[in-house]
């Protein structure tokens, strides 16, 4: 029943034409630009991206606040991140992203807490700056071991003309130079989480790097210092990555930002190399460090043994033979494990098809891991990718892969209904839709409460999880026998 390449391409073309029929003309025209398929040899995926979502279509996207508080800043564990504005945004994003950390919560770490200014009508009418000042004072009394404060702006802040920068400066001075970072990540800015990443990166540049004495900490640099950039330690991802870098002889001086601390951010300009996992959310600060401090950066991919191997060698190529040998040692050490994992799961997963729709780096980065298990990704798309993401994607996808940017609920449902993949990987909002349809599903933001998936230890878990999703006995039972 498997289609030839030509048939697949024709099916994709027909399918796109079919879903577009549901829209009013103007909308169909706009959505058409976001739907396409990869043609072998092209330098991008033939879709437009990073454009405003259309109203009313049920986009899966979030907002700039989610990109800043939820992704970039929230995981910095020893700072207090104030969700500044009404109670909602902070409440819904409270501890939901599984950024693991080690610390005593409420005392020296604050990652799984929700600090909010809980705006009331009077704050909207008269402004919230006074309240913000008081909040910072109260934080200083009740949470004396906090290492800094960030102000994560929600929608109203930019609309009522509050001056959170002035408040931050004033209070920082008052507390003897404490790091206080105002972030203008109001949810209406930009078109998705993406601008929030950028704004958050810029805030680190302006309010951490530019305001901190580079010799604040007694820190001895070594020739093997690297920083992990763009790993949010979801289910422990950064840890199962860090361990490999350390095993090959590197010294990881900072994690951005999963299980990270402000001291790690401050010391990163002393790194020899920045290794970047989520390009989308942290390329900005990596470029800045390259320009300002001369630190090169390299993208890597720690999903699945093929990509891990290539990435370890790529990272090692920036160092001397000691590290290069270290990389080979690590690769050799884990080969037994990956061989055993593949031997166990590949026969159960070989030839299975997958459709993805995720954020950041995952719509391309995980493809290799599926392929290591003999699976094929037949459709993929980004929640908030830019053209450079789709260009990078061409190195991962096969000819005729269906591509859908900022997919709508309707489109995704129809695509899956027609293509009938063996697995869908997307988010919590999509999970139950597809499971109801009888399609196995894994959440690929939160790892469905499993993980880590990065590194060799993570690959074993990834393989186990994909197998348990696809080969669960329940899928054979969705249709009642008398209905078959």
């Amino acid at each position: 029943m498997s289609l030839t390449l030509e048939e697949t391409k024709q099916r994709n073309t027909d399918l796109i034409a079919e879903v577009l029929k549901v829209y009013p003309e103007k909308t169909a025209k706009k959505r058409a630009k976001h739907l396409g398929q990869y043609e072998e040899g092209k330098s991008d995926c033939d879709v437009k991206s990073n454009i405003k979502s259309l109203p009313g279509v049920m986009t899966i996207r979030g907002c700039a606040y989610a990109g800043s508080k939820g992704v970039v800043w929230g995981p910095i564990k020893d700072m207090i991140h104030i969700s500044h504005g009404p109670v909602g945004c902070g409440q819904y994003s409270w501890a939901s992203r599984r950024n693991y950390y080690i610390g005593t919560t409420g005392i020296d770490s604050f990652g799984t807490m929700q600090f909010t200014s809980d705006f009331q009508e009077k704050d909207i009418v008269f402004g919230g700056d006074k309240k913000l000042e008081k909040i910072m004072d109260e934080i200083e009394v009740l949470f004396p071991l906090n290492k800094g404060i960030t102000v994560q702006s929600e929608c109203p802040i930019g609309l009522i003309g509050d001056d959170i920068e002035a408040v931050s400066k004033k209070k920082s001075k008052e507390y003897g130079g404490k790091t206080i970072v105002p972030v203008r990540c109001e949810g209406f800015r930009g078109v998705s989480q993406s601008l929030g990443h950028h704004i958050a990166n810029d805030a680190i540049r302006d309010w951490v790097f530019d305001k901190t004495d580079p010799n604040k900490h007694e820190f001895q640099a070594t020739p093997y210092d690297v920083a992990i950039i763009g790993d949010y330690n979801i289910g422990g991802d950064a840890w199962s990555s860090r361990i490999l870098l350390e095993e090959m002889g590197l010294r990881v001086i900072a994690q951005w930002s999963g299980d990270g601390t402000i001291a790690e951010l401050e010391n990163t300009p002393k790194a020899k190399l920045n290794v970047l996992h989520c390009y989308r959310s942290m390329n900005y600060i990596s470029r800045h460090m390259e320009e300002k401090y001369g630190i090169p950066w390299v993208e890597y991919n720690f999903f699945g043994p093929s990509k891990i191997e290539a990435s370890l060698r790529e990272i090692a190529s920036h160092f001397d033979d000691k590290i290069k040998e270290g990389a080979e040692r690590v690769i050799a050490k884990y080969r037994k494990l990956t061989d055993a994992v593949i031997a166990k799961f590949k026969p159960r997963l070989e030839g299975k098809t997958v459709m993805l729709f995720v954020g950041g780096l995952r719509p391309r980065h995980v493809i290799g891991a599926y392929e290591d298990l003999g699976m094929n990704v037949v459709g993929t798309g980004y929640e908030f990718g830019h053209n450079d993401d789709y260009q990078r994607t061409t190195h991962y996808v096969k000819d005729g892969t269906l591509i859908y940017d900022d997919v709508t609920g309707y489109e995704f449902e129809k695509f899956v209904e027609k293509i009938q993949p063996d697995l869908v990987g997307s988010g919590i909002k999509e999970k139950y839709v597809f499971q109801k349809m009888g399609v196995p599903f894994r959440q690929m933001h939160s790892w469905d409460y499993s993980g880590p998936y990065h590194g060799y230890d993570g690959f074993a878990i990834f393989a186990r999880d994909m197998d348990m999703a696809i080969n669960s006995p329940v899928w054979a039972l969705t249709k009642a026998p008398w209905k078959k």
Binding site: T59, A66, P86, Q91, E138, L142, P156, A343, K429, A463
Partner: protein, 512 residues
């Protein structure tokens, strides 16, 4: 190496392996520049003191770990309660992503809802175009029979006028002129999710009822309010009404949308109150609102239309359910069915069998104001002492009602209601005046960890336990389930506390 293909371990056990533990220690020692352990411990111990509690309660501006959400969440809940209705939230799209995730994490079900995706240009020029296009797109794509509109705080701050925007959209042909688009302004900076529920529900009623003439009949309306157990509770309510044989309408019932089968088909819409039912509900003799604080404005509106409105406050347990049933009986003139009387006796039986384990136990509870009133009443009835009753979205009027319950029971002496407080306040209460059991939503697990008090999960949201929402906590049957849940937790705690071999396990009894 930690992994073995034959025995793959995930985050739970993986990071306890020695190479990871060593890695964590090195990271902390060399790169985190953390405060010394002694300093951390000193501050940690200080946070447990009365001195800290006083400072904590002196807070005027900062909120930490609140037990409430924002208005539009409640508006989406209300919209989902109507047949083939699509919730449409006018404003930024990020909020809608959050509401959908939030509900899906609680119910383990899809939640469909669209946004008008306003961005910076809409902040400057207003969101009219977003409304015009948004309604057209949603109407064509998802074929709802009704679109219920509410707002995020962005639209509220810039002052978008929903009524005018919807009228213009209709003129521009986004949806047909006669198409039903009830709406409500739901500013996030006023009240909480229960306020949003109230506003949105009132918006739907107003949309239909203001065009109608009331012709009173004998039927009764039932309104549940914002409720995390809605799936189980609504089924229980329908069962109770049908046992009475009472002509009734459940106004706003999201229980089926969040309870669809896995059978190969995704149902975006299922069940819910139909338009005809909403229209008919105007003629009812009376409306029973099960959660008065969740329906303050709606109740007032219904009363203005000429109906008797009975506002209950989440009645539970024996006396609470008695009151609910007697109200139905009074309003319908029908006797209380024998089957329900028997259920009452069974609940009594269960309480009599087990109350020795609950009697005199101290409880702390937090959550929505109505749920707190119901639970307080039930606990007092069981001879328990609800010493800390806290609600972030309950005000002074709520606290007075809780106090009245305390005053009416000898077990209420020494108990306190805490309006407009959060879970960081609760932490201080639990350290300075410890209790045996905590009742609250999923976020209470952080208090369980910090204060060592076992948590009984009840309220919204429950993310870390599955399927609780499928079971009722209302009626005698629901109360029985609450009783069992509390007892289970008490027995678990007792077993855990007596499990050490040759030390405490003499009390590790096989019969309790």
């Amino acid at each position: 190496m930690s992994q073995d293909a034959e025995k793959i371990i995930d985050h739970e056990m993986l990071f306890r392996e020695p190479e990871y533990v060593e890695m964590f220690d090195n990271k902390k020692k060399n790169f985190e520049f953390a405060f010394p352990l002694e300093k951390m411990e000193e501050v940690r111990d200080w946070t447990k003191t009365m001195e800290y509690r006083e400072k904590n309660f002196a807070r005027e501006a900062l909120t930490v770990n609140p037990a409430k959400a924002c208005q539009p969440l409640g508006a989406v809940f209300a919209a989902v309660g109507f047949a083939k209705t699509l919730p449409f939230v006018h404003g930024s799209q990020g909020c809608v992503a959050y509401y959908r995730s939030h509900f899906s994490r609680h119910f383990k079900e899809p939640t469909s809802c669209v946004s008008s995706s306003m961005t910076e240009d809409a902040a400057v020029f207003g969101g009219l175009n977003n409304m015009v296009d948004g309604l057209a797109n949603a109407y064509n794509m998802y074929k709802p029979e009704m679109i219920a509109v509410s707002t995020t705080c962005m639209a509220e701050v810039i002052g978008d006028d929903l009524g005018a925007f919807i009228r213009t959209s209709k003129q521009k042909g986004s949806v047909p002129e006669e198409y039903d688009t009830p709406y409500a302004h739901t500013p996030a900076f006023v009240g909480s999710h229960i306020t949003g529920y109230d506003n949105a529900l009132k918006g739907v009623l107003t949309h239909f009822w203001d065009k109608q003439e009331r012709v009173p009949n004998e039927s009764i309306n039932f309104i549940g309010g914002f409720d995390g157990n809605v799936v189980g509770n609504m089924a229980e309510i329908r069962r109770i009404f049908s046992l009475f044989g009472a002509d009734h309408t459940v106004v706003c019932d999201p229980s089926e949308v969040w309870n669809t089968p896995t059978d190969g088909e995704f149902r975006m819409y299922d069940g819910g109150t139909t338009k005809d039912e909403v229209k008919g509900a105007l003629n009812a003799k009376a409306t029973i609102s099960f959660q008065g604080f969740s329906t303050e404005k709606t109740n007032k509106y219904i009363a203005e239309k000429g109906q008797e409105v009975v506002a209950l406050y989440h009645p539970m347990g024996i006396a609470g359910t008695d009151q609910f049933l007697m109200e139905i009986s009074r309003l319908t003139g029908k006797p209380i069915p024998l089957a329900l009387e028997k259920e009452r006796g069974r609940l009594m039986d269960a309480i009599a069998d087990s109350s020795a384990h609950i009697h005199g136990k101290k409880f702390a509870l937090y959550g929505d104001p109505d749920l707190m009133l119901g639970l307080t009443g039930f606990l007092l009835e069981l001879g328990a002492e609800p010493v800390h009753v806290l609600s972030t979205n309950g005000g002074d009027d709520w606290a007075a009602k809780v106090q009245a319950l305390f005053d009416a029971s000898p077990f209420g002496a020494g108990c306190h209601a805490y309006p407009k407080k959060d879970l960081w306040h609760m932490r201080s209460l639990l350290f300075t005046e410890p209790v045996d059991l905590l009742v609250g939503n999923t976020y209470g697990k952080y208090l369980e960890r910090d204060c060592g008090v076992p948590l009984v999960r009840m309220g919204f949201p429950i993310f870390d336990r599955h399927h609780h929402h499928r079971f009722p906590i209302w009626g005698y049957e629901g109360s029985l389930r609450v009783l069992v849940t509390i007892l289970d937790e008490i027995f678990e705690a007792l077993d855990a506390n007596t499990i050490i071999t040759a030390k405490t396990d003499y009390s590790y009894d096989i019969i309790r």
